[in-house]
């Protein structure tokens, strides 16, 4: 299921290194990952560009896992050994822990085979749909733009046609031509989720929200803006600009709980792993989540 598990993260961000340790733990035969395992990886990478100092990395990641224990509470499916030298999987089968593991794996695209990336990203998007539906005003219409998504995802065809349909739904004035888009572009135009409140009439000037979902560790800095007015206000004009959300399965936090890379967060409201899990709990959304069968597949791995 997962691959390239000896490829360590670049950089020193604790949230990425803790993810890596958690992935190693769930895929190991012993369901744990230890200081000595990291040391071994450091030896393997010693002469490469990806070399790292194992002692400092270990302390950083295990401390960050300790912070996750505190912040994710019962939904965190790992424990830290008394001597802080081992991270152990302690999965209890609860939907919260399952969601945590689903997001952990979705946030680890570099370790997923290409054949699985699309389906896992889709399950993440479906999770975001449920949460997004609770973040917009009660009574809102909520739609997805992805293909083959059933009645909740009505936008089909060429991107031009989708944009026209979106503009109509949000009561905007479209200002686009078919030739503005490449001939074979059937993408989503950077918008995954759309919500608007009809305000009990058919006039313009309604609350609108757009959202983009992304699993990539690198692309979020620019993808977060893809659903924003900055990108789309030339395509259709609305009386009041929309709120922009960006959903990510990454735990984008510093040690002290602040946003990591805050200076790179632009117009979008970021909904990261901690927010997704807490909001799912707050709105009791577990029965609306996808099955995350890939979590079982991953836990069935027995590397050593």
């Amino acid at each position: 299921m997962l691959e390239k598990l000896d490829t360590t993260p670049g950089g020193t961000d604790a949230f990425f290194w803790s993810d890596f340790a958690e992935l190693k733990a769930i895929t190991h035969a012993d369901k744990c990952f230890s200081r000595g395992d990291l040391d071994q990886l450091a030896r393997l990478n010693k002469t490469k560009e990806s070399s790292f100092k194992p002692e400092e990395r270990w302390r950083s990641l295990i401390n960050f896992c300790g912070i996750r224990i505190h912040d994710f509470k019962k939904h965190y499916p790992f424990r830290v050994s008394e001597d802080e030298d081992t991270l152990e999987l302690s999965f209890d089968g609860s939907p919260g822990q399952r969601l945590y593991l689903g997001m952990l794996i979705a946030a680890s695209m570099r370790h997923l085979p290409n054949t699985r990336k699309g389906s896992i990203a889709r399950e993440f998007e479906e999770t975001c749909f449920s949460v997004f539906s609770k973040l917009v005003p009660e009574g809102s219409e909520v739609r997805a733009t992805w293909a083959s998504g059933g009645p909740e995802a009505p936008y089909i065809g060429h991107l031009y046609q989708k944009m026209i349909a979106v503009a109509r739904d949000v009561r905007g004035n479209p200002d686009i031509n078919p030739e503005d888009f490449k001939e074979n572009n059937t993408g989503d135009g950077g918008i995954d989720l759309i919500a608007w409140h009809p305000m009990a009439d058919e006039r313009q000037g309604i609350p609108i929200s757009f959202a983009q979902c992304g699993c990539s560790r690198e692309d979020w800095t620019f993808k977060q803006a893809e659903a924003s007015p900055f990108f789309h206000s030339n395509h259709f004009r609305v009386m009041h600009n929309w709120a922009t959300y960006y959903f990510m399965p990454i735990d984008l936090r510093e040690f002290d709980g602040r946003w990591a890379y805050k200076s790179k967060i632009g117009q979008a409201i970021i909904v990261d792993r901690l927010r997704l899990l807490r909001l799912t709990e707050q709105y009791s959304l577990y029965d609306k989540l996808p099955a995350f069968e890939f979590v079982d597949e991953t836990m069935a791995m027995a590397e050593y």
Binding site: T12, A14, H28, A29, D30, K31, C32, S34, R35, G36, D37, D39, Q40, R43, K53, E55, E56, W58, R59, S60, N63, G66, I67, I69, H70, D71, S81, E82, D83, E84, D85, T86, E88, E254, F255, D256, G257, R258, A302, Y304
Partner: protein, 366 residues
Amino acid sequence: MSAKVAPVPGKIKYIPTRELNFDPHNPRFYRLNDPSSLESVIEEMLDDEGAQDLMLSIGQKGYFEGEPLLIAKDDNGVFIVVEGNRRLAATKLLNRELEPPKRRAASIELIRNQAVEEPPTELPCIEYTHRKEILRYLGYRHITGVKEWDSLSKAKYLLQLRDDFYHAEPRDKQLRYLANDIGSKPAYVGKLLTALAMYSYAENKKFFDLPIRPDDIEFSYLTTALNYNPIINWLGLDSGIDMDMPKLDPANLKSAFAWMFAKDQQGHTILGESRNLSEMASVVQSSLAIKVLENTGRLAEAYLYTDGPQSALQKVMEDAHAKLRAVWNMLPTTRPLSDRHAQMAQSLFEDTRDIRNYIRDKMDED
């Protein structure tokens, strides 16, 4: 200088593994509460030392006889393995003389089952008269060699070596001899011993009654801290190799331990990560910044009260300027230029204009 005691190796002889025992004074066991406990040692070997890769190797290829264990008898006449404790652990686990802790049982059983070679029940050994004879020759292997110890084990080993062989020498010679013994530099040896002196001081003071357990302490943070002159000066050290620490400031050492290792209820330390030591170095140069840190517990906030941000901004602006010059120099030779280039240029222009306007506005306000 004390005369070097050249070990006189005996012939290789094969000794049953059940007669071979782990060395409770091995530097890598320093962290263990009870180094004489087999369970602790095996757990350490599997969790911290990665003995599994040796098990795999011995299971697939057999024990390499060119690497005999180096052993000596202790006061009770029992064989102690001074060099080769990982190999001994791997062999005892393979031949089932020892069982792993429960959490490691699955992988150890897989490795045992996949072994193609019969696990050895005796190992090639060279016996020395005294443990001390072997000690000084471990350094090349575990400090600069193939199986590095962690930095606390290295420091502990160097201390043993110093006390056993060079205790009567002046400090500078001690460092030089130790560096020669391990194939490294005196400054590196000195830094490890100074960090160990700080660690031991704090340990003797029960970590100043701070909420710190020995397991909370990452020794490498102490050695890394000694790379920063402001921290060295603030601690009352003459340099990063001041292992006697005659002018140590105990109150500041206590603060350093509190910021680096004490966790609050959420599991946060004030330092966070070792990369923040540079900010801590700036903070300790300013009494105002220290006060802010003590009041708020937030390093990032305290850092704002140092001249660090101004210096950092200056450097980033200089770097950006250098990169813009590089762009300018590339333009005459790059063709074709694309819409993307034009968009990027527009974006750079707008960002730069915003920066200029922001600075002007703020300077006018101030």
